[in-house]
């Protein structure tokens, strides 16, 4: 399984990678991107199974990234990990086709609970 982590913070990318290692999600490889635009390139070259994205990023936000992917009929599993979590954000994410929405700080258990249904 290949997981793409999209976040403009290197710190948060490291935290997500470390947390993923503590889950029981099985073997996985991680690829990274620093914003939505870079993520499009990585998705094209790496074909990840899951995309885990921040919401607010420079160049292209996580929501714009998801909308562009679905507009191109790319149905890769996609979810958000973000500091802010409003009902409006969750509704926009679900409407755009997101599979999960995780709020920081998250634990290995909460991350696994969000990711495991889409990896079945």
């Amino acid at each position: 399984m290949k997981i793409l982590i999209v976040d403009d913070s290197k710190t948060m990318r490291m935290i997500i990678m470390r947390t993923l290692r503590k889950t029981n999600l099985g073997d996985h490889t991680v690829v990274q991107a620093g914003d939505g635009r870079e993520a499009l390139q990585v998705i094209a070259s790496e074909s990840p199974d899951v995309v885990v994205s921040d919401w607010n990023m420079p160049e292209m936000t996580g929501l714009q990234l998801l909308q562009q992917l679905r507009g191109e009929d790319n149905q890769v599993h996609f979810g958000f990990i973000t500091s802010e979590s409003t009902l409006s954000m969750r509704e926009q994410a679900a409407e755009a086709g997101a599979c999960f929405f995780v709020t920081k700080p998250f634990t290995p258990e909460s991350l696994e609970a969000s990711l495991s249904p889409v990896l079945v």
């Binding site: 710190t11 935290i15 470390r18 973000t82 802010e84 709020t103 700080p105």
Partner: protein, 160 residues
Amino acid sequence: MTIQETTPAEMWLGALIDATSDTSNIFLELGDLHVTRRSDCIPEFTNAGFVSLVGDCSSIQVGICASNDACREMAAKFLDMDGDDPQLTREEIVDAFGELANIVAGAVKQQVSEQGEMMLLGLPLVVAGKPRLSDGQHVVSAECMMGHIPLALLIITNTE
């Protein structure tokens, strides 16, 4: 001056202490946060990370202050590096400190929202130097130990 947890600012400070303690446990594995002193002064630290929470009824600044060494240690913990690793850059330290401020401010917002106050979360801002209050601003702060790392948490409100 010692203060009691009675005003909205002190309630927000309590939420900030809880959020930082959670982050210390979950992401830094440094255990619970220990508050050593509460006051209504800006603490004496050399770096500060701030995030604004803006609501219809009130706006606040959520802040974390720490020394250069403390910021470096926290960044190293976040990035799985040694604190004295020469490859740890200033940019990475600023990123880590800003992300810490972002995480705890998001958690404070969540707690405050659960009590009915809707607020928007700003972007993190990291500054070097001791912050100063503008006219009409008020601060409540808590000096803490995150494991062996000293830091201070603060809430800045407008007195109007």
